[in-house]
């Protein structure tokens, strides 16, 4: 384990006005591993991903990708680092002015300057990989169901064959069967690319399926970090409460009482 981790986060802090969302996050992700970060809604999971991607500017701390400090990178340098990443957004975030295949090919055409025919061929290949046929490729995203949109978004995230893929709540809002289909696709895609994956979710079934390692975020910090096999014996009350979905325990939801 002397190898530098793919992603190393140290002391990451982010506040929005008076509200502290991340309060010193430390996290290592080894190359080729699949880490799932669990945590309640609004616990700052999406903010954590966006800080690592540089979409949100962190207030303090350090983020190293392949040993290179990326906090504060701008312009061209930032774009170069971004090429290592693929991201599946919570709502899909498909471009609704473009057709399905143009969405999938976007990173190839705009980001890498791939020729249009070639990009289209790759896009169709990736769509097939997530179980969508050629007929779908000329539709617009608004014509697709939620599950299909997620699959298109997944195809777009893997189209540039990134080294690192982030998944933001990939199964939220889907029925359990479609959720499992997406889980299987994620596992298959990550394996095929040999990519490093970081997934955030509050869906424990999904976490167990995707993860090698699990980390739990609570009150702006990582409070537990370990292999997925050990999650049932974490010895951490917060983790136990979360994975069993109990209202009673150390985590108290802010509910106004009469």
């Amino acid at each position: 384990m002397s190898q530098t981790p793919k992603i190393r986060v140290r002391g990451l802090k982010k506040s929005f006005g008076p509200k502290t969302v991340l309060n010193g996050v430390d996290l290592d992700i080894e190359s080729g591993e699949s880490l799932v970060v669990i945590g309640g809604s609004g616990s700052g999971k999406s903010v954590l991903l966006k800080c690592i991607l540089g979409i949100i500017q962190a207030d303090a701390g350090s983020i190293q990708i392949d040993g290179e400090e990326t906090l504060g990178l701008r312009g061209r340098e930032r774009e170069r680092v971004m090429r290592k990443f693929g991201m599946l957004f919570q709502g899909g975030a498909l471009f609704d002015s473009l057709k399905v295949w143009e969405n999938v090919a976007f990173g190839l055409i705009q980001g890498r300057g791939t020729a249009k025919d070639e990009a289209r061929r790759i896009a169709l290949e990736k769509l097939a990989q997530v179980g969508l046929g050629e007929a779908v490729s000329t539709l617009s995203p608004a014509e697709l169901s939620g599950g299909m949109q997620k699959r298109v978004a997944l195809a777009r995230a893997i189209a540039t064959e990134p080294e690192i893929i982030f998944f933001d709540e990939p199964t939220t809002g889907l029925d359990p069967i479609m959720a499992d289909v997406i889980n299987d696709l994620i596992v298959a895609c990550v394996k095929e690319l040999g990519a490093t994956a970081l997934t955030i979710t509050h869906d424990m079934a999904s976490a167990r399926k995707i993860a090698n390692k699990v980390a739990m975020i609570y009150e702006g910090r990582i409070i537990w970090h370990g292999p997925v096999e050990r999650i049932d014996a974490s010895g951490n009350d917060h983790v136990d409460q979360f994975i069993h979905g109990r209202a009673d325990g150390p985590i108290q939801m802010q509910v106004t009482r009469p």
């Binding site: 991607l53 957004f89 709502g91 498909l94 609704d96 976007f106 990173g107 980001g111 540039t160």
Partner: protein, 236 residues
């Protein structure tokens, strides 16, 4: 302010998305023609009618052609076209970019190695700045034509004399000042649309607020800059 500087900087630095610029020019320019045409046509007509009822008393009917052409080119065509386009295009830009913001499409652009400024903001700003002068030039002609129709067919003027009077007192600077105004207004409309869309937060409500803010701020800026530019051109 910072947003404006960043936007202008990206306007002059490559890469450029020519196809997107073309599409925005079509959207902003061509599809605004009917609105701008109708507005300036009736403004030209009403100007002729109003100045006739005013000037007739002083038997200075020949001044009508001059009043119409000067008011149209200097003031009415740029300001009215500006306000109409602010309502039509400014709102559309803010709504589109705002929706892209709240559905994370702008974040998605970034992760796909595409600069949202270059991809979204620059084409709209360039198209706005280039197309509004063209719209206003068209509006000038249509407005003068509106005045001509009223003068000749309703008030019974001699067509030849009217056209001669129109051309006689019109100076190059009158048209140019109107077109400069138009370019500035076009820039402001697109800038406000992009800015408010880009800054929108919190779902459908946020997008609605962004749209309103874009139209209101663009309209007010148009009126303020109209005054400032008029001062620069015609003072002394």
């Amino acid at each position: 302010m910072l947003f404006a500087l960043t936007a202008v900087m990206h306007c002059v630095l490559p890469p450029f998305y020519f196809r997107l610029i073309g599409r925005q020019m079509l959207d902003i320019g061509y599809y605004s023609l009917p609105v701008v045409g109708m507005t300036t046509l009736f403004s030209g007509m009403v100007l002729a009618l109003q100045s006739y009822s005013g000037f007739a008393r002083f038997s200075a009917e020949s001044a009508i052609a001059t009043v119409v052409v000067l008011s149209m080119t200097r003031e009415l065509a740029p300001v009215l076209a500006g306000l109409m386009v602010a309502g039509r295009v400014g709102a559309a830009i803010a709504a589109e970019i705002g929706t892209m913001r709240v559905t994370e499409q702008i974040d998605a652009l970034t992760t796909l190695s595409t600069n949202p400024f270059k991809y979204l903001v620059v084409p709209r700003i360039l198209a706005g700045t280039l197309m509004l002068p063209l719209l206003v030039l068209t509006g000038d002609i249509i407005g003068v034509f509106g005045g001509y129709i009223v003068a000749v067919y309703q008030l019974g003027f001699n067509p030849g004399t009217y056209i001669k009077n129109t051309a006689e007192y019109l100076e190059f600077i009158d048209v140019v000042s109107g077109l400069v105004k138009a370019a500035v207004f076009g820039f402001l409309i697109s800038l406000m649309g992009c800015y408010h869309g880009y800054q929108s937060r919190g779902g459908a409500q946020g997008v609605g607020a962004a749209t309103t803010n874009a139209v209101v701020s663009a309209s007010i800026l148009i009126l303020i800059f109209n005054y400032v530019i008029t001062g620069l051109f015609f003072e002394r």
